[in-house]
């Protein structure tokens, strides 16, 4: 059974339909990336899975129907959504942000362990843990957002433009850490990314989205070799 199953998913902002019947599956432990131009519906796909927009259609997480439920109930199944533009709590300290990531968990001892582990992945956050999140640099805030997601001990991470606003070196560093997290913790990931070559580098499966429809799907390395995709999204 797939960890995440999406079938005929439609999403709307007011009267405007943004997703026009998406169907895809994501296997436990795998990384899938969604590619596409601006406005194709990548971010909306992630928001729809988390119930942050009005949707029709089916979303199943580890077999259970989650479509139509409240966001806060959906994420409690073990889905960590790292939103675009980070969405940190800017007037709370970095450590308070991380603790809030574990808000739905009851196992205090394990949470304390995870906090230490997260600091090992992101040593910069440990240095800055008492600083207000709003005063961190863009890169540090992005790390904080990913780290906060990890604190949930998620089975699935939805990553929306993790490279958003990051310098190339930091982006590489972040993707290296994401790779480590995936190996060590078997977290499945659904990654939306402008930087297609980075995303394809980490992903097993890839989908190409165009105006709310999937127009191509397959193994990430095959998609990466595809002539049309290369021209349109990889730029070489």
């Amino acid at each position: 059974m797939a960890l995440l199953e999406v079938a005929n998913l439609e999403a709307f902002y007011g009267q405007t339909q943004v997703l026009r019947g998406l169907s895809f599956k994501l296997e436990e432990g795998s990384v899938t990336t969604i590619l596409g131009a601006n406005g194709a519906g990548k971010t909306t796909t992630l928001r729809a899975i988390c119930g942050m927009v009005r949707t029709n259609g089916e979303v199943r997480f580890s077999g259970e129907r989650i479509a139509g439920r409240a966001t806060e109930s959906i994420v409690r199944h073990g889905i960590a959504h790292v939103p675009e533009g980070r969405g940190t709590f800017v007037r709370l300290s970095a450590e308070q942000n991380l603790k809030l990531g574990a808000y739905s968990r009851k196992d205090a001892a394990a949470v304390a362990d995870d906090l230490e582990r997260v600091y090992q992945y992101f040593p910069r956050l440990k240095e800055r843990r008492h600083q207000q999140a709003g005063t961190l640099s863009g890169g540090e805030q992005q790390m904080l957002a990913v780290a906060r997601g990890l604190m949930m001990r998620p089975r699935l991470m939805l990553l929306d433009e993790p490279s958003f606003g990051l310098a190339p070196l930091l982006t590489e560093e972040l993707f290296r850490i994401l790779g480590t997290i995936r190996r060590e913790r078997q977290v499945s990931m659904l990654v939306v990314e402008q930087n297609a070559s980075l995303a394809l580098g980490i992903a097993d499966e890839a989908y190409l989205l165009e105006t709310g429809r999937i127009v191509m799907s397959g193994k990430a390395r095959d998609i990466g070799r595809d002539e049309t995709v290369r021209k349109a999204y990889l730029g070489y």
Binding site: V90, L92, L100
Partner: protein, 292 residues
């Protein structure tokens, strides 16, 4: 000098009451961006509840705690049943509901307990401790009680997971939902807490101004003034602002000849207008700067 000290400490006592109202107002403002105009009337209604409990022979401090608890539940219910349907619609909708609540609580209190002025007891001894002369016993007690309440609220928001979750929900509701916080309930909790804090203000001021359905109207204005002066975006600032307004009001009433006690309320209004004109974010408020 004695007069100065007397007026300052009496001002601090009223300041504590304003600080409670300012805090209650700011808590709801932070979560919703709206001023709850009914905050004062809810506090007045709570005080009548305390009056009834006392009337039935419940000892004062039990009454105090019970009233806070009842107000908390009442605040939660008001949010869930009356405010929630209009949340996130338009500003005007919410403001009208708040004003409606103000009228409803005011009339309800008049209808249940009638409009005659009632005495409300002070729980404090007849004389201030340590033979202090420049402060009345009730004023002394009020400062103590409000400081304790404010400290407890501060500790709650600073150190408990629920307090942290409430702050997160107010700052960024979308992200709060994404970590599993039930934002709707946090808002209801906020209303409950605000109502409980307001009830303290009501019970503390009633022995001074006497209990009647309109007793909190002026208090609410001072509370607003305090919140604005300290900074409507900063709860600690709002509390400080409340104390400052209390002291300032007494100084102006005493030392500016034409103000006296009749024009004291004007001080609050002048303060509100001045702050809004020259420093809209208040003394300790956060100026919202957006990065582009």
């Amino acid at each position: 000098m004695d007069l100065f000290l007397q007026q300052t400490f009496a001002g601090l006592a009223f300041g504590g009451i304003y600080a409670c109202i300012a805090l209650a107002v700011v808590m709801i403002y932070q979560a919703t961006d709206h001023l709850n105009f009914a905050q004062g009337e809810m506090a007045m209604f709570s005080t009548y509840v305390a009056f009834t409990l006392l009337h039935h022979g419940v000892p004062y401090w039990w009454t105090f705690l019970l009233t806070m608890a009842i107000s908390f539940v009442g605040g939660v219910l008001v949010e869930r049943i009356i405010v929630r349907p209009v949340e996130g619609t338009t500003v005007l909708n919410e403001v009208i509901v708040f004003i409606g609540l103000l009228v409803i609580f005011n009339s309800l209190a008049g209808w249940i307990w009638d409009y005659t002025i009632k005495p409300f007891p002070s729980p404090f001894p007849k004389e201030a401790p340590f033979g202090i002369k420049f402060i009345g016993p009730h004023d002394f007690g009020v400062i103590g009680v409000t400081l304790v309440v404010l400290a407890v609220v501060f500790l709650f928001f600073r150190f408990t997971p629920v307090g942290l979750a409430m702050r997160a929900a107010a700052q960024n509701p979308d992200s709060a939902r994404l970590v599993g916080i039930r934002v709707g309930w946090m808002l209801a909790l906020g209303w409950g807490l605000a109502a409980a804090i307001g009830s303290v203000a009501g019970m503390m001021v009633a022995p001074i101004v006497f209990l009647e359905p309109n007793m909190m109207l002026g208090m609410l204005l001072y509370g607003f003034a305090g919140a604005l002066l300290g900074g409507i975006s900063n709860p600690v600032g709002a509390v400080a602002g409340g104390f400052m307004v209390g002291v300032l009001e007494n100084w102006v009433g005493t030392y500016v000849p034409f103000v006296g006690s009749e024009l004291k309320l004007t001080v609050a209004l002048v303060l509100i207008v001045t702050v809004l004109m020259f420093r809209p974010s208040g003394l300790f408020g956060y100026v919202v700067v957006k990065r582009v």
